[in-house]
Symmetry: C2
Subunit: 378 residues, 2 copies
């Protein structure tokens, strides 16, 4: 029997102070939970999502067989993060377009749709909002916080902002900050959206249009950077879409890779919000815990007391293993308890979402250790 997921939502009246100096009040957070919180409320695991994901982490919705959560390979009954043992929480971040309060909702002060005026939110802001959600769910301390990519940044941030509330942090395919190339790709995607005439300064909702052209370009760039060179060559190579005959056209699809990218771009532009895209890529750009410590990552991570598992993938050039190793070193400089696995996987950054026996095995072992820690503490 598959795990059945039920989306829930909570309203937060009290203003949340944001890193930018702005604040946000009367917002909602969408979330899901899987498994059961134990009597001493010690078995909670928070899952943080990356760019194109949500609170729907595991299981399927009633009667919708194909609606698997985005990390369903990882989380569920008997899976590496075992919902028979752990109480797993998925939460949608502020500014998203999948249920929590975001740019397509109304500013409570003006009654007008936020659009591009939705305040810039950071990884730290998300973590603060998640902490309030945990308060409401009665979870004082997490057995683990876990995330991949941008989700890994949130997991790391949890250990710095609420060290006493986190026993373990699992940080997958992540980095201590974006490098110049990462920021550059984000910026091109943002420019494609913002310069689309249908963007209307971020208030396209009231014009009844969507900046589809920009979203398509943004998604195509994203897909190229999520995949490795190797896997692209293996999956698509130089295969022509139509047999062996060249069309000699600059605008028609000639190669399979073009067809794939256009399809992904089209699909994305139909459901993803342009303002959310800007917000989430900006949160990625801004994340940099060492900023307040003269760029010294070891100093920045001194506040963390959690135990860590870090995982990276050899062909991930967006969040390369070297970036995870920077985190490992900075944690070891602080004498922290760190496990690190570098998985030889061909799939690039996407690998963190895919089924890979070694990867899932490492996470399984680590969560068995967390479960043993919990048992010993009881």
């Amino acid at each position: 029997m598959p795990l059945i997921a039920t989306p829930q939502s909570l309203h937060f009246a009290e203003p949340l102070a944001l890193q930018s100096g702005a604040s946000l009040r009367d917002y909602r957070l969408a979330y899901e939970t899987y498994g059961t919180l134990n009597a001493d409320k010690s078995n909670a695991v928070l899952i943080c999502h990356a760019l194109n994901a949500s609170h729907h982490v595991a299981g399927v919705y009633e009667g919708q067989e194909k609606s698997e959560g985005w990390w369903d390979t990882m989380i569920g009954p008997g899976k590496p993060v075992d919902t028979d043992r752990f109480f797993v929480i998925g939460v949608n971040n502020l500014g998203s377009c999948f249920g929590s309060t975001g740019p397509m909702h109304a500013n409570p002060d003006t009654g007008r749709i936020w659009g591009a005026d939705f305040p810039v939110v950071t990884v730290e802001d998300w973590v603060d909002a998640q902490a309030r959600l945990l308060d409401r769910l009665g979870v004082a301390r997490l057995a683990a916080v876990m995330g991949g990519s941008l989700g890994g940044m949130q997991a790391l941030s949890w250990t710095l902002r609420y060290p006493e509330r986190v026993a373990h942090a699992v940080v997958v395919a992540s980095a201590p900050n974006l490098n110049a190339e990462n920021i550059a790709f984000n910026e091109v995607a943002r420019r494609a959206i913002v310069t689309d005439p249908d963007f209307h300064g971020g208030h396209f909702y009231e014009h009844g249009v969507v900046p589809r052209r920009g979203l398509r370009i943004a998604r195509m760039i994203g897909h190229i950077t999520y995949l490795s060179d190797d896997v692209m060559n293996e999956k698509f190579g130089r295969q022509l879409r139509e047999g062996l005959t060249l069309k000699y056209s600059t605008q028609d699809i000639e190669f399979q890779i073009e067809s794939y990218l256009r399809y992904q771009g089209d699909k994305f532009s139909e459901y993803f919000d342009a303002n959310t895209y800007l917000l989430i890529t900006r949160a990625l750009d801004y994340f940099d815990p060492a900023r307040g410590h003269d760029g010294n990552l070891a100093k920045a991570l001194a506040a963390a007391t959690a135990k860590f598992l870090l995982v990276s993938f050899t062909t991930d050039w967006r969040f390369a293993p070297a970036r995870s190793r920077e985190l490992v070193k900075a944690l070891l400089d602080n004498n922290r308890d760190v496990s690190y696995a570098e998985i030889a996987a061909p799939h690039g950054h996407d690998a963190f979402l895919l089924e890979d026996a070694r990867y899932l095995g490492v996470v399984r072992s680590y969560f068995e250790r967390i479960a043993r820690d919990l048992g010993a503490a009881q």
Copy 2:
């Protein structure tokens, strides 16, 4: 005294049969020459250009100090390709926007500006057009053909289409074909241009507009892929544009890398033709000499009789050293005379245009050998 360059142009009435099956008549080729053709016409060197370049390879225009040719570090009196010894020819390719016949010129059959209807041109077509130019200049056989990136593909193609006309080929930062990732980046850039409302199906000239948004995005993507991760981190890193204060904005420039990319995009969109961009990236996509040989590169290169120098750069991820090594291997499989230098340079693909003592030294040595060969033949 600096080398003074003088642009020239020749008209070709006779139709040129293109790979696509179309043909092009009454076209002009813009070119420049430097140095003097010797008595037996054996010292000619043809330079082939890449995406954003032209026939203006070396020297400056009279009275315009800052108008250096795009490979002026490499070519000139006393330089690695020494114009005191060699007669060097730079030629602008068909479809370009820098002087040779291209999309902004009129179709002689209709009198209408070509626009997006300019026939798709391939590396092979360019080489055929260049061969006709050499006929007119009285050059039966080249001492060397040389190019970087897409220019290297032309040099390679010369050795296959006109083996008897090429003594040496110098192929820098090139590849036997584009891989899926390369095609993918080209496709995103093309989609950005084609979906810009100001593109007007490629006939924007008659609307008095230019698809600037698309060109900007295309150029930003280009710049990211020309540079290495390392050099971007060194040049820009996470530096903020305005001191240490964050603005918390999704649309304002926050990081220096954003400022750089926007500037490059803006500049490019003011002078580069959108249809030319489509044509040139498509020529890159199509080039694949092994296509007609069941993908067997060694078979494809069996026709080449030239001697080769290949050069690659360690941090070039657009045309990685591994791609040059494929060429080296395929040439060695045919018992060809090949020299290969892999230069440890931090600048990514851009390195082929920059001053690097080891790189320039290798090319200098090779051209000294070519000069000796010429001396021995005389």
